[in-house]
Amino acid sequence: MSPGKIMAITIVILGALAAPAFSGETSRTPATDEMVRRANHMALYQGADMKGAVSMVITDRQGRTRKREFNILRRDAGTGDGDQRYYVYFNEPADVRKMSFMVHKYADTAKDDDRWLYMPGLDLVKRIAAGDKRTSFVGSDYLYEDISGRSPLEDTHELTGTTENHYVLKNVPKEPGAVEFAYYLAHIDKKTCIPVKMEFFKKPDRLYRVIEVLKIEGVEALENGRKVLYPTVTRSVARNLDTGGKTEMTLSGVRYNIGLTDQIFTERYLRRPPKEAMR
């Protein structure tokens, strides 16, 4: 049996076990797994594809700032919230300008992502070994996994509370040795299902890292010929309470369902970026 199948069966079993725990909740409270699935979808899988411009301001404990600017393209491969392709084109700072970075992300947690980096000064396509996803993304307080998404299959989920606007989910890693946190709390907006706050704890219950959504905007798009509004996080901040550093991330120029083809996520376009990525 493939690891994917085992995971799928595990989910079903977990779902079945979790269901009775919610029997006391109001009928409008979705089952935990459904909530996790929706939150994951809202955070990473809205639309068949997407483009946007990301700006990060990294501020260290002493108040010194660094800036990162890149354009990002995303396309879902296959059906369901599964494999994805990412294309990142750097504009700032100078030492990474015009570099492009491509990821083929696999939903199967047993399979590492494929990653490539193109360095234009050397005309070099470098294949990057799968790395620890819990390391900083471009030197910011966001981790690689915050950007590409942490698979819901890697944690067990438990609804620990509800507030007026949020469900609070506790997520405990199935492999505690593979990550730096003991668990994290995700505050999920009841209206949009977007995780608006993530609090990461180390043992025993020490909060050390927080990601908070500052702004959500509705982005108009066409889906099967009709107009839809995708609620999209356009401003967020990640704080590392241990280092005293924080990174503010702004997403602008967001467009969904623009018809990106799979061809864009190949060596051809890595070496010479598509117009979609350059502006």
Binding site: I58, R66, D114, G121, L122, A129, E267, R268, M278
Partner: protein
């Protein structure tokens, strides 16, 4: 020296004028035609770089590098084309001259779904090696690499046309260079080397003046790569027709020349275990000496490479490669040697690369090492690279050569062992 100081002033002035101009301008996007969606940018850097030999080299200056450099990068982009102009200007304290070098000047277009065209001066790279090149027969600049210029300068530009053809199953790159572009090889001007004719080390007293094939469209080069992706493995076949990139032959009167070379090979690269494995093989056919009988022309060779790269720890990456050069017709080569000690049939090289990022990835510590157990020589390249701000970078590094026999590849450069430092402001 007078020329040098005035050129210094000129570069400072040019930098001062250009730096505030850095930025982006965009044409009105409302109009159609060629300038639709037109953007132009100005970027570049200004750099001071100095280094010295750690010991005396009777054939070279004590300073290994001493230069101030301005690079101006002008990318222009329209709906149907991209244009790039990248020029370097520098004042060189070693040669006491002002130099300029057009690094890139090309036009790119994607006229059809299956076709990419890039025409002009461009940097070209393919193959799977990490600082080892087998099927990549585009020009290298080992001179810059050995004296501690930025790694970007290891690649010298080609004046070429590159066509890319793309289909669902495989892709083909075809590069035509109408006039041979050799490596910027070691001539003795900056780096002393083993001079076989003199039977000793040579430098500024024995600068190599090679006769270069230089007729347009006659002394040309063609390079091909057919490649595709099968189940996550990148497969490629290569072909080349041109010349040895360094003067691997000489006339009976002793003038270094570039003999003809044909090459073919293949490579595969893909995920294996926790890392990335690569294998590459190339067959070099020395066309002017196909049977290895001519002692004045380098013999044919087969080159083999196997490598593995993986993340070793948080922000720490490593790669290990094993590289072999196998001389063909070695018996004939050995018979052609008149008493002098020649090369081995096989040259083995092990390479190691380590890169550690720290301090929010603003500090990069890297180490590249080449060790040849057959030649018993080595080359070690440590480097510290610190982004003081997003625009200012500081660098400190060394090029360390050692070995027993000064006629072997790395050992010949032993007296060029150097340390260097650089300060770069990017705009």
């Amino acid at each position: 020296m007078k020329a040098h100081s005035s050129s210094w002033l000129f570069l400072c002035l040019a930098a001062a004028l250009l730096v505030p101009a850095a930025g982006i301008c965009e044409a009105d996007r409302g109009h159609g035609g060629l300038l639709d969606g037109f953007t132009a940018e100005v970027h570049g850097y200004y750099e001071l770089r100095g280094g010295c030999r750690t010991g005396r080299d009777p054939h070279e200056e004590d300073m290994s590098i001493m230069e101030t450099r301005l690079q101006v990068d002008l990318p222009v982009s329209g709906k149907w084309f991209d244009l790039k102009y990248k020029e370097d200007l520098w004042a060189d304290g070693i040669t006491e001259e002002v130099g300029h070098d057009t690094r890139e000047l090309w036009l790119f277009s994607r006229p059809a779904g299956f076709l990419d065209i890039k025409v002009g001066r461009q940097v070209l790279t393919w193959g799977t090696g990490d600082l080892v090149f087998l099927n990549d027969l585009f020009p290298k600049d080992w001179r810059s690499f050995f004296i501690g210029r930025d790694a970007e300068y290891l690649k010298a530009p080609s004046d070429a046309v590159k066509l890319g053809f793309f289909t669902d199953t495989a892709n083909l790159d075809l590069v035509y260079t109408p006039r041979f572009d050799p490596d910027r090889f070691i001539t003795g001007e900056y780096v002393s080397y083993w001079n076989g004719q003199l039977g000793r080390l040579g430098g500024r007293d024995a600068i190599v003046h090679a006769r270069q094939p230089d007729r347009w469209f006659d002394d040309d080069e063609i390079a091909l790569r057919l490649y595709g992706n099968v189940k996550g493995y990148e497969l490629a076949l290569y072909g080349y027709r041109g010349y040895w990139k360094t003067p691997e032959g000489q006339t009976p009167s002793g003038t270094p020349v570039f003999p003809r070379l044909n090459a073919c090979g293949f490579s595969v690269r893909g995920r294996t275990g926790p890392g990335i494995a690569n294998i590459e093989i190339a067959y070099y056919r020395s066309v002017d000496d196909p049977r290895g009988e001519d002692p004045l022309v380098r013999n044919s060779e087969v080159r083999y490479l196997a490598g593995y790269a993986q993340e070793i720890g948080p922000d720490l990456n490593g790669s290990l490669q094993y590289y072999v050069e196998q001389m063909l017709d070695w018996g004939d080569y050995e018979r052609g040697l008149t008493g002098a000690e020649g090369k081995d049939r096989l040259r083995h090289v092990i390479t190691l690369q380590l890169t550690q990022l720290a301090m929010d990835q603003n500090l990069r510590l890297s180490l590249s090492a080449y060790y040849s157990p057959s030649d018993r020589d080595a080359y070690v390249r440590p480097n510290i690279h610190y982004m003081y701000t997003d625009n200012i970078r500081l660098e400190l590094g060394a090029n360390i050569f050692f070995g027993e026999d000064p006629a072997t590849f790395f050992a010949q450069f032993e007296k060029n062992t150097n340390i260097y430092a650089a300060l770069r402001y990017s705009f």
